[in-house]
C-alpha cells in the first residue's frame, strides 16, 4: 500500500462524490462530513459512475439504476449481488486528502 496525496479536502463538498483518476483508474471519493470514503467509480451492475450518485448515510445510490452500494465495504446492498466494489483507505493530512492504493497499482503506473 502506498499513500498518495490527492487534493485539498475542501475540493470534496459535503455528502457529494468526486471522481479522481489514480494511475489510470477512476476512484469515487465521498465526503461524509466526519470522514472520507473511496471506492472504484464503477457500479458492478452496468458500470454507472458512482461518484454521481446520491449519498445515503454510508451508502451511495448509483445514478443509472439505483443500485445501492456500501461505501464502507463495497458490498452491493440493493439488490443484493455477490460482488464487491474495491474500497480504498483514506486519511486527511494537513488539509489534504490521502488515498492508499495497492502496490500492484503503483507498478502499473
Amino acid at each position: 500500500m502506498k499513500w498518495i496525496q490527492i487534493s485539498k479536502a475542501d475540493n470534496f463538498p459535503l455528502r457529494e462524490g468526486r471522481c479522481v483518476t489514480i494511475g489510470g483508474d477512476d476512484v469515487a471519493v465521498f465526503n461524509l462530513g466526519d470522514r472520507f470514503l473511496a471506492v472504484d467509480n464503477a457500479c458492478p451492475h452496468r458500470g454507472g459512475p458512482l461518484c454521481d450518485g446520491i449519498v445515503s448515510g454510508e451508502t451511495v445510490i448509483c445514478p443509472l439504476h439505483n443500485y445501492k452500494i456500501s461505501l464502507e465495504t463495497g458490498a452491493v446492498l440493493k439488490p443484493e449481488m455477490p460482488v464487491r466494489v474495491i474500497t480504498y483507505p483514506t486519511r486527511v493530512e494537513n488539509g489534504v486528502l490521502m488515498i492508499a492504493v495497492p502496490v500492484e497499482k503503483e507498478m502499473v503506473a
Binding site: P13, E16, V29
Partner: protein
C-alpha cells in the same frame, strides 16, 4: 322573514344550523364567530398540533357553504352585548344585528387557574386554531414544554408538542391522570404508558407560580420544587361561556339552562353545545352536542317534537397511541360490583361496573377493541345474568370481539356525525363506494373524532364490491410523513434545507427518494428562497445535463416555442463538431439534443452555444411546443408562436413536481398536440381553450378543459395559475395527469381560475417570487456552486 342570529361558529352551532337548513326554514340567518376561521373540527386540533393534518384539512364548512346557503357570516366579531327589549346584539366592533330568534352556541373557554405569573408570555391555552398555531410556532426540538393539567386536553397538547420534538412534562394536580374518565388504577396504567413514550408526568403537583422575567422560564410548585420551562400550556379544564346567557337574562347555572327541547327560560332564546346545561349535566364531547343540534333545529323551525334526553357519558380516544375508553358512571359506589382485568406487562387494564346484572360503567386502557359491545350493553341496559362469569371475554363461539353483522341497521356507527349502519350500507351500495375516503366524502362518517374508523372499515370490507385500503402515501421510510404533511411542517417550522428536515423529522440520513423530493419541497414552499443543497439533488440537477447510460451527458439548449435561427443552428453544428458529439438528435419536443458530452466539457459547451438551458434533464419546465399559427399558416386563427414563446419565457427555469411539457396551437387542428400536454393552449376563432393534465406517454390522456378565455393574456394567466397550483399541491413525481385525476378538474378550477381575486393574485405573486429568484442554470459555467462542480480531480502527486 324572521331573523335568526347565531352567536358562535363552532362545531355545535354550525351543526345545528346545518340541521335547521334541512327544514328549509323561512329564516334569515346570521352567524357570528369570534375566531377568524370558518367552521372547523375542534377535535382534530391535536392532529394539527402533531403535524398530522394541516389547518385546511380540518375545515368542516368552507366559506362556499355559507354563501350557498345564504348565511351571513361575520368572522372575528365577538358579541359583547344583548338587548332583549330591542332584540339587538352588539359586536365588539360596534356592529349591531336585530334578531327575532337568538341561538347561543358560545361553547366554552379554557379555565385559567389563579397561578402567579400566568400572564407571562410563553404561556398558552389549547382551545382553538390560533392557540394551536402559536404552539406550533414555538414548539420544536429541545424546547422545554410544561403542560399544566393531565386531563384529555392536556394530554393531547403534550402529545402534539412531543411529536414536534419538545421535551414535555405534564403536571397534574391530582394523583391520577384523566381523573374524570378513569379510576386511579386506570390513570396509573395510562401514566406508565405515556412515560414509556418519553413524556415526564408529575402527579399530585400543585403549581404555585410561573417564573421568569416577562417571559416564562420555569414553574414553581407548592412543595417548593421548581422546573425549567420555555413554554407552558394551561389545560386545567374548560368552563362554559355563559356570560351572554346572563346578558340575555335567561336562567344560568353552571351552563345556560335548557329543557328537553333546548329552549331556555326565554322563548326567543335557544342554546346548544358546550355552553348548555341540561338536567344538571354539561356535555363536552361532540356526539351529544350534535344530538342537541338536531333537537334544537326541530324546535326552532316550528317542528317541535324531538327531545334531548341526555347521554350516557362516553369517551373513546387514543392518547399518544394508547387506547382509552370510558363510559357511564365509573366511580365505585355501594351496591356496585366491580369486575377487573389487569395485565401490567402489556399495559392493559379493563374494569366493568355492574349493578343488578346490568352494566353501569366501563373503563378500558390499552385495549379498547371491545368498547362497542360494552357501549351497547350500557345503552340497551342488557341483562348480563347469563354472562356474569365471562363479562370480560368474548362469547365462547365466533364472537371475535365484535361483529358488524350483529348490529341493527339503526345502530349509530359514527356518533359524531350521526350516521347509522343502515345509512352507511345504503351509501356503499348506491354510490359504489370502495374506500374509506370515498365513504367519508359520501356520508361524513368517521370525519369527526375518528374513533369509528375501524368500524367503517369493517363495514366497507363486508359490503363493498371492491374494497380497497386507502394508501398511506408516506414519502419514504427516512421521513415517514405524507408529502402534504411535510409541506405543512416545512412551512410552520420554517425549515429551509433538506438536511434540517431529515435531522428533525427523519433519520438524519435520507436517500435517493426523499432527498430530491425534499429539495423540491423547500424550493416551492419558500418560492426559491431556500437553502439549496446540491448533495440532495440527483446528478442531473447538479450539473444541469441528462446523464446517459455510459456516464456522459446530453445537452439540450432552450429554443423557445421550438423556433430557432440559422445563427443558432450554425453554433449548434460547430459545438457538435468541436466536442465530437456522438449524436445530434431532433427531439419530439421540437428541440435539438447533443448526446455524449463529458461532464468536464459541459461548461465549455454551454459557453460556446451561448444559449440558455433547455431544462431537458430535470423535473421542471421542459418546453412549449408550438405550431406556426397565424404568422404563416393559412388555417391559423391565433398567434401560437408568439404566445408559446411568451408562455415559455414566463415559466422557464422553474422547477415542478414532475416535468411539465406544454403546447400552444393556433387552431383546433392541434398540430403541436396541445391536448396531450401538461398544459395546452388551443387557439379558436376569437378565443383560447386552456387545457391541463394531458398525457401522451406510458398512458394517453386527453387534457381537461380548464377555461375558455378571449385574449392571449388571459390564456397565459390561466396557464400560470394552474402551473403554480400544481407546483404547490402535487406530490413530487406526480405528473399533471395524475394530479388532475386525484384532485378533479372542478376543484382545480375552483381554486385557480375561479378562485377569488385575492387568491389568484396570491398564487401569481408566489409564482412571480419564484421566477424572480430563478435563473438560467447554465450560468453556473461562470459561477460554479463549488470549485469542483464539473471537474474531474487530478491527484497532486503522480504515482511513481
Amino acid at each position: 322573514m324572521e331573523q335568526l342570529v347565531v352567536v358562535g361558529n363552532g362545531m355545535a352551532g354550525v351543526a345545528c344550523v346545518e340541521q335547521i337548513l334541512k327544514y328549509s326554514p323561512d329564516l334569515d340567518i346570521t352567524v357570528y364567530g369570534d375566531e377568524t376561521h370558518v367552521n372547523y373540527n375542534r377535535i382534530m386540533l391535536s392532529s394539527v398540533l402533531a403535524g398530522e393534518k394541516n389547518a385546511d384539512e380540518i375545515t368542516l364548512n368552507g366559506i362556499e357553504w355559507y354563501q350557498e346557503n345564504n348565511i351571513n357570516l361575520r368572522l372575528g366579531v365577538r358579541i359583547v352585548d344583548i338587548d332583549m327589549k330591542k332584540r339587538l346584539v352588539t359586536g365588539d366592533d360596534g356592529s349591531q344585528a336585530e334578531f327575532d330568534k337568538l341561538l347561543l352556541a358560545t361553547g366554552s373557554a379554557a379555565f385559567i387557574p389563579r397561578i402567579e405569573g400566568v400572564d407571562k408570555s410563553g404561556v398558552f391555552t389549547f382551545r382553538n386554531l390560533d392557540d394551536t398555531r402559536a404552539l406550533i410556532e414555538r414548539a420544536g426540538p429541545g424546547v422545554r414544554a410544561v403542560v399544566i393539567g393531565g386531563g384529555l386536553l392536556g394530554l393531547e397538547a403534550a402529545r402534539g408538542l412531543q411529536v414536534r420534538g419538545a421535551d414535555v412534562t405534564v403536571i397534574h394536580l391530582l394523583d391520577s391522570l384523566m381523573n374524570v374518565q378513569l379510576d386511579p388504577s386506570g390513570g396509573q396504567y395510562l401514566k406508565t404508558k405515556i412515560e414509556q413514550l418519553g413524556v415526564r408526568v408529575l402527579t399530585n403537583k400543585s403549581t404555585k407560580a410561573l417564573l421568569g422575567n416577562g417571559h416564562v422560564e420555569g414553574v414553581r410548585f407548592e412543595d417548593g420544587e421548581t422546573i425549567d420551562a420555555d413554554l407552558v400550556v394551561v389545560a386545567a379544564g374548560i368552563r362554559p361561556n355563559v356570560e351572554l346567557g346572563r346578558k340575555a337574562g335567561v336562567a344560568v347555572n353552571r351552563g345556560i339552562v335548557v329543557n328537553d327541547h333546548l329552549e331556555t327560560s326565554d322563548p326567543r332564546v335557544f342554546a346548544v353545545g358546550e355552553c348548555v346545561e341540561h338536567n344538571g349535566q354539561v356535555y363536552g364531547l361532540v356526539a351529544p352536542l350534535l344530538d342537541q343540534g338536531k333537537v334544537l333545529a326541530a324546535t326552532l323551525t316550528g317542528n317541535k317534537g324531538p327531545v334531548f334526553t341526555g347521554w350516557t357519558p362516553a369517551a373513546k380516544l387514543k392518547i399518544m397511541g394508547v387506547e382509552v375508553f370510558s363510559a357511564g358512571e365509573v366511580r365505585e359506589q355501594p351496591g356496585v360490583e366491580v369486575v377487573r382485568y389487569e395485565d401490567p406487562a402489556m399495559g392493559v387494564y379493563k374494569k366493568l361496573l355492574v349493578k343488578d346484572f346490568r352494566l353501569t360503567g366501563c373503563i378500558l386502557v390499552g385495549d379498547a377493541a371491545d368498547s362497542h359491545r360494552y357501549m351497547e350493553w350500557l345503552r340497551a341496559g342488557t341483562n348480563l345474568e347469563v354472562r356474569r362469569r365471562s363479562l370480560l371475554f368474548p362469547e365462547p363461539i365466533e364472537d371475535k370481539g365484535f361483529d358488524v353483522a350483529e348490529l341493527p341497521d339503526s345502530e349509530i356507527i359514527c356518533g359524531c356525525m350521526g350516521v347509522s349502519k343502515g345509512a352507511i350500507i345504503t351509501a356503499i351500495h348506491t354510490k359504489e363506494l370502495n374506500t374509506l375516503s370515498q365513504l367519508k366524502n359520501a356520508t361524513r362518517a368517521s370525519t369527526g373524532c375518528g374513533s369509528c374508523t375501524e368500524m367503517c372499515q369493517r363495514l366497507l370490507k363486508a359490503v363493498a364490491k371492491d374494497f380497497e385500503e386507502d394508501k398511506k402515501k408516506l414519502l419514504c421510510g427516512c421521513v415517514p410523513f405524507s408529502q402534504e404533511n411535510l409541506r405543512e411542517i416545512v412551512q410552520s417550522q420554517k425549515l429551509k434545507s433538506v438536511q434540517e428536515i431529515l435531522d428533525i423529522y427523519g433519520n438524519g440520513v435520507g436517500c435517493e427518494i426523499c432527498k430530491p423530493a425534499l429539495s423540491y419541497m423547500v424550493d416551492v414552499v419558500w418560492c426559491g428562497d431556500h437553502q439549496e443543497d446540491r448533495s440532495a439533488r440527483f446528478i442531473n440537477d447538479r450539473v444541469h445535463a441528462n446523464i446517459q447510460r455510459d456516464g456522459t451527458f446530453s445537452v439540450v439548449p432552450r429554443m423557445r416555442g421550438g423556433v430557432t435561427t440559422p445563427a443558432q443552428l450554425r453554433k449548434i453544428a460547430d459545438v457538435a463538431e468541436k466536442y465530437s458529439v456522438k449524436m445530434v438528435k431532433v427531439t419530439g419536443s421540437q428541440r435539438i439534443d447533443l448526446l455524449g458530452i463529458k461532464k468536464s466539457d459541459l461548461p465549455k459547451v454551454w459557453a460556446d452555444l451561448g444559449m440558455p438551458s433547455g431544462q431537458a434533464y430535470t423535473k421542471g419546465v421542459r418546453m412549449v411546443k408550438t405550431c406556426v399559427g397565424t404568422e404563416f399558416c393559412r388555417f391559423g386563427v391565433q398567434d401560437s408562436t408568439t404566445t408559446g414563446i411568451e408562455l415559455e419565457r414566463r415559466l422557464e427555469n422553474l422547477f415542478t413536481p414532475h416535468k411539465v411539457k406544454m403546447g400552444v396551437v393556433g387552431c383546433p387542428r392541434n398540430c403541436a398536440e396541445a391536448t396531450v400536454k401538461d398544459i395546452g393552449l388551443v387557439g379558436q376563432d376569437g378565443s383560447w381553450q386552456v387545457v391541463v393534465g394531458g398525457a401522451a406517454g406510458k398512458s394517453v390522456r386527453k387534457a381537461d378543459l380548464l377555461i375558455t378565455v378571449e385574449t392571449s393574456e388571459e390564456a397565459l394567466e390561466a396557464a400560470q395559475l394552474f402551473f403554480q397550483y400544481y407546483r404547490e399541491n402535487a406530490n413530487y413525481l406526480e405528473r399533471t395527469y395524475d394530479f388532475c385525476e386525484r384532485f378533479g378538474i372542478e376543484k382545480i378550477r375552483k381554486e385557480t381560475v375561479y378562485a377569488k381575486k385575492e387568491e389568484r393574485k396570491a398564487l401569481l405573486s408566489r409564482l412571480q417570487k419564484s421566477k424572480t429568484l430563478s435563473k438560467d442554470a447554465w450560468l453556473e459555467r461562470d459561477e460554479p456552486v463549488h470549485p469542483t462542480q464539473f471537474v474531474q480531480i487530478q491527484p497532486m502527486e503522480a504515482l511513481v
